[in-house]
C-alpha cells in the first residue's frame, strides 16, 4: 500500500515538474497569440482607418468598372461589393467591423476575397505558401550551416592566411544584397549559360505528384532562388561564429577538458561548438522574419509564384484584400518559425527559460 502511495506521490511530483517546465512553452505560445492579435489589429487599422483607405480606393474602382459596363453606379450595390471583398460592411461602426473582421479571420479563416482573382484570399495563399517556405527554409538552413562551418574553420586556423582571406570574403558577401546575387545568378546561370530555368516553379507538361521527374524539376527551378536566399541567411554569421569560437577556445574549461583526456571531437562538438552556436541561434530568430520578407523581392525576380509573388501582384493591381491577407500570412509563418526556434533553443541551451525575474527599479 505504502509502495503505491509513494509511487503516486512521485508521479505527481514529476507531473508537477513537467507542468512547471511546460509553463515556459505555454507562455511563449500565448505570447505568439498576443502578437498575432496585435498584428491583425494593425492590419485592420492600416486597411480601414487611414485616410484614403483602400476601401475607398476599392469603391472608386468598382464605380469605374460599373461605369465602364454602362451601368449606373448604385451605391448600395457598390457597398455590397466592398463588403464581399473585404469582409466588412462600410455602414457599420468601426468597432463592430473590427470585431467581425477578427471573428472572420479567427473562426472562419476568412480573409475576404481577392478582387483580381475572385477566389477567397485564404485559398490562393494556402496554395502558394509551401513554395515560399520551400525556398526560404532551405536558404536559411544552408546559410546557417555554412556560417557555422566556415566560422569554426576560421577560428580553428586563427591568424592564418585562410582566416584573413575568409574574413574579407565573408565581409564582402555580407555587403552583397540578396537581390544583387539573384541578378548575377539569373544573368549568368539562367540566361547566359542556360543551366537553370529563369522562372516558374516546375516545368510544364510533367505529371504532378511523387514521381522523380517532377521532383527533380522542382529542385531545378528552386536552385537559384535558394542560392539567393542563402545570401540572406549568410549575413555576418560566419564572423560572429568565428568570434565566439575564438573566445571560447581561450577558456579554462577547455584546458581542463584536455587534461582530463576528453577526445578532441567531443571537445570540438560539445564544448566549443555548442557554446559558440548559442548567440547565433538568437540571431537566427531575427533572421527568420528577414528571410520571409525578402521572398517578395526574390519571387518577383525569379517569377516564382509563392506568397511573395502574389503580394507583389496584389500591390501592383491594388488588390488590397490579397495584400492584407498575405501580410497576415507572412506574420503567421514567421511566428511559427520563431516559436520552433525558441522551443529548440531550450534544447540547445538548458539555461534558457529558467525564467528568473530580475528586480524592477
Amino acid at each position: 500500500m505504502r509502495q503505491y502511495l509513494d509511487r503516486t506521490r512521485n508521479g505527481l511530483v514529476s507531473l508537477f515538474g513537467v507542468l512547471v517546465g511546460l509553463r515556459y512553452y505555454w507562455e511563449r505560445i500565448a505570447h505568439a497569440f498576443v502578437t498575432l492579435f496585435a498584428v491583425t489589429t494593425i492590419t485592420f487599422a492600416l486597411f480601414r482607418l487611414m485616410p484614403g483607405s483602400p476601401a475607398d480606393a476599392m469603391r472608386a474602382e468598382f464605380e469605374r468598372r460599373l461605369a465602364g459596363q454602362g451601368q449606373a453606379a448604385d451605391p448600395e450595390v457598390i457597398d455590397q461589393m466592398v463588403r464581399v471583398h473585404t469582409g466588412f460592411d462600410p455602414d457599420k461602426p468601426i468597432y463592430i467591423q473590427y470585431v467581425e473582421y477578427l471573428r472572420d479571420v479567427i473562426i472562419y479563416q476568412d480573409f475576404g476575397q481577392s478582387i483580381q482573382y475572385g477566389d477567397p484570399v485564404f485559398d490562393i495563399l494556402f496554395a502558394a505558401m509551401p513554395w515560399s517556405i520551400f525556398i526560404s527554409v532551405y536558404g536559411l538552413a544552408f546559410g546557417y550551416t555554412a556560417n557555422i562551418l566556415l566560422g569554426a574553420a576560421m577560428a580553428y586556423k586563427e591568424g592564418s592566411r585562410f582566416d584573413s582571406y575568409s574574413t574579407v570574403g565573408a565581409t564582402f558577401l555580407n555587403s552583397v544584397p540578396y537581390y544583387v546575387g539573384a541578378f548575377f545568378f539569373l544573368a549568368f546561370f539562367a540566361y547566359d549559360l542556360g543551366w537553370f530555368p529563369g522562372s516558374g516553379r516546375y516545368s510544364r507538361g510533367l505529371e504532378q505528384g511523387l514521381n522523380p521527374e517532377f521532383m527533380l524539376s522542382i529542385v531545378h527551378h528552386g536552385t537559384l532562388p535558394i542560392m539567393s536566399s542563402f545570401i540572406v541567411g549568410f549575413g555576418g554569421g560566419a564572423l560572429a561564429m568565428r568570434g565566439n569560437s575564438v573566445r571560447i577556445l581561450g577558456e579554462d574549461y577547455l584546458r581542463v577538458a584536455r587534461l582530463r583526456g576528453i577526445s578532441s571531437t567531443r571537445i570540438a562538438t560539445r564544448y566549443v561548438a555548442r557554446n559558440a552556436i548559442l548567440p547565433l541561434y538568437t540571431q537566427m530568430m531575427i533572421g527568420i522574419a528577414a528571410i520571409f520578407s525578402s521572398s517578395v523581392v526574390l519571387e518577383y525576380i525569379f517569377t516564382y509564384p509563392g506568397v511573395g509573388w502574389y503580394t507583389y501582384d496584389a500591390i501592383m493591381r491594388r488588390d488590397y484584400p490579397l495584400l492584407m491577407g498575405s501580410f497576415l500570412f507572412f506574420t503567421i509563418v514567421t511566428l511559427i518559425g520563431i516559436l520552433i526556434a525558441e522551443f529548440t533553443y531550450g534544447i540547445v541551451d538548458p539555461r534558457a527559460g529558467s525564467g528568473d525575474q530580475s528586480e524592477a527599479y
Binding site: 505570447h31 498576443v34 502578437t35 496585435a38 498584428v39 494593425i42 492590419t43 492600416l46 487611414m50 484614403g52 483607405s53 483602400p54 565581409t171 564582402f172 555580407n174 555587403s175 552583397v176 544584397p177 537581390y179 544583387v180 541578378f183 539569373l186 544573368a187 539562367a190 540566361y191 547566359d192 529563369g198 555576418g236 531575427i286 522574419a289 528577414a290 520571409f292 520578407s293 525578402s294 517578395v296 523581392v297 518577383y300 503580394t311 507583389y312 500591390i315 501592383m316 491594388r318 488590397y320 495584400l323 492584407m324 498575405s326 501580410f327 507572412f330 506574420t331 514567421t334 511566428l335 520563431i338 525575474q357 530580475s358 528586480e359 524592477a360 527599479y361
Partner: protein
C-alpha cells in the same frame, strides 16, 4: 589600538582627514591653461581614436569609401543648387535623356579610347580640363549612367542618415529603458519589440507605402527604420541588464539620482561603441531595403535612385537577358555593394577603436603630461 588606526597599516605616519580628503597644496595642484585642457580633450576624444582607427586598414578603407560617398553627394548637391554663388557652379551635370548616344557601352573603345574623340574621356571639349563622355555607358534613352549614379547620391545620404538616426534612437530609447527599468515596463516594451520584429519588414513597408506614398527621401528612411530597430533594442537591453548591476550604477541609485540621469550619464556612454557600430549597420540595411523597394516600383519614382536605375535596366533594357546591356544594371548594383562594404568595414574597424586593449597601445598623448600618464 583604535579603529581609526587602520589608515596607518603601511607603517607610515598617520594621515589626518584633511590630508586624506582635503584639497592639494597650492604647489601640487596641476595648472592647465585653457589651451592645454582643450588639447587633452581633443586628444582623448578625437586624435587617439582617430589614430587607432587609421592604424586599421578596414577603418581606413571604410572612411575612404564613406568620404567618397559624401563628396559625391556634395558635388551633386552643389551642381543642382540654386543658392547664391553656387548657382553657376556645375561639377556634374544633371542626367537627362539624349545627353549621350543611346545604349552607349561603358569604356567604349577600351583604354585606347581614353582621349580619343567620342571616347569616354573626350578632350576635344572646350573645358580646360578633361570631360568624361559617359564613361560608365548610357541607358536606352541616352542617359549617362555615371551622372545618374552621382545625382542619386544626395537622396541616398538623406535616407541613410534619417533611417540610421531614427532606428538607433528608437532602439536606444526602448532597449535601455526596458533593460534598466525591468519588471512590467520591460515586458511591455519587449512585447512591442517582438511584435515589430515579427512583422515581415518588406511587406509592412509595402503596405504603408501603398497607403501613404512617401515622396521625400528622409521619409523613406524613417519608414524603413520601422523594422531596423527591434534587433538592436533587444541587444541593448541585454547589455543594460548586466551594466545595471555594476557598482557605480548602484552607487548612483543609492544616492537617489533620478533614473533618467543614471541612464544618460552612467549607462548610455558605456554602450556608445555598440550603438555607433550598429548605426553603420542600420545605414546598410536602409540602403539594401530602399533600393529593393525602388526596384520593385513600390515607392514613388521621384528622383534619380539606384533602385530605379536597376528597375529601368531590368524592365526596359532587359539587362539580365541581354548580356550586352548587363552594364546598365551592373553599375547601380556595384554602388550598393561598395557603399555597404565601406559601412561594414568601418563598423568592424570602429569595434577595434573601442576595444580598450588595442586602444591603450596607441594612446600616445600630445600636450602636457604625456609621460605622467604612463605611471
Amino acid at each position: 589600538m583604535k579603529h581609526t588606526d587602520e589608515t596607518a597599516t603601511d607603517g607610515g605616519e598617520q594621515l589626518s582627514d584633511d590630508q586624506l580628503f582635503g584639497q592639494l597644496a597650492e604647489a601640487d595642484r596641476v595648472q592647465l591653461s585653457r589651451r592645454e585642457r582643450f588639447g587633452l580633450l581633443l586628444d582623448a576624444y578625437v586624435l587617439t581614436p582617430g589614430r587607432v582607427a587609421w592604424s586599421d586598414w578596414r577603418t581606413r578603407i571604410g572612411i575612404l569609401v564613406i568620404s567618397l560617398f559624401l563628396l559625391t553627394g556634395l558635388a551633386a548637391k552643389v551642381s543642382t543648387s540654386n543658392w547664391w554663388i553656387l548657382e553657376d557652379v556645375t561639377i556634374v551635370e544633371s542626367p537627362a535623356t539624349n545627353q549621350a548616344p543611346t545604349n552607349h557601352q561603358p569604356f567604349d573603345g577600351g583604354f585606347a579610347a581614353i582621349t580619343e574623340e567620342g571616347g569616354w574621356i573626350d578632350t576635344t571639349a572646350s573645358f580646360p580640363w578633361v570631360e568624361f563622355n559617359a564613361p560608365l555607358g548610357s541607358t536606352n534613352y541616352g542617359e549617362p549612367i555615371g551622372r545618374q549614379l552621382i545625382h542619386s547620391t544626395p537622396d541616398m545620404i538623406e535616407m541613410v542618415v534619417a533611417g540610421a538616426f531614427v532606428s538607433v534612437g528608437l532602439a536606444i530609447l526602448i532597449g535601455i529603458t526596458a533593460g534598466y527599468k525591468g519588471g512590467k515596463i520591460d515586458s511591455v516594451l519587449m512585447s512591442i519589440t517582438d511584435i515589430v520584429m515579427t512583422m515581415p519588414a518588406i511587406p509592412l513597408v509595402i503596405v504603408i507605402a501603398a497607403i501613404y506614398p512617401p515622396r521625400e527621401a528622409w521619409l523613406v528612411g524613417v519608414i524603413l527604420a520601422i523594422d531596423a530597430w527591434p534587433g538592436l533594442a533587444r541587444a541593448l537591453r541585454s547589455q543594460v541588464l548586466t551594466l545595471r548591476e555594476e557598482s557605480y550604477v548602484e552607487a548612483s541609485r543609492t544616492m537617489g539620482i533620478p533614473s533618467t540621469t543614471i541612464l544618460s550619464r552612467d549607462i548610455t556612454p558605456q554602450l556608445m561603441p555598440y550603438i555607433l557600430i550598429n548605426a553603420a549597420q542600420a545605414g546598410r540595411s536602409v540602403i539594401f531595403e530602399s533600393v529593393a523597394l525602388y526596384f520593385l516600383g513600390v515607392l514613388p519614382f521621384t528622383t534619380a535612385n539606384w533602385g530605379i536605375m536597376m528597375d529601368t535596366a531590368y524592365s526596359e533594357g532587359f539587362a539580365l537577358v541581354n548580356m550586352a546591356n548587363f552594364y546598365q544594371i551592373f553599375w547601380p548594383m556595384m554602388a550598393v555593394v561598395i557603399i555597404s562594404f565601406g559601412l561594414i568595414l568601418f563598423s568592424q574597424g570602429m569595434d577595434r577603436v573601442f576595444n580598450p586593449r588595442i586602444r591603450a597601445r596607441h594612446s600616445k598623448k600630445v600636450g602636457t603630461g604625456g609621460e605622467d600618464q604612463e605611471h
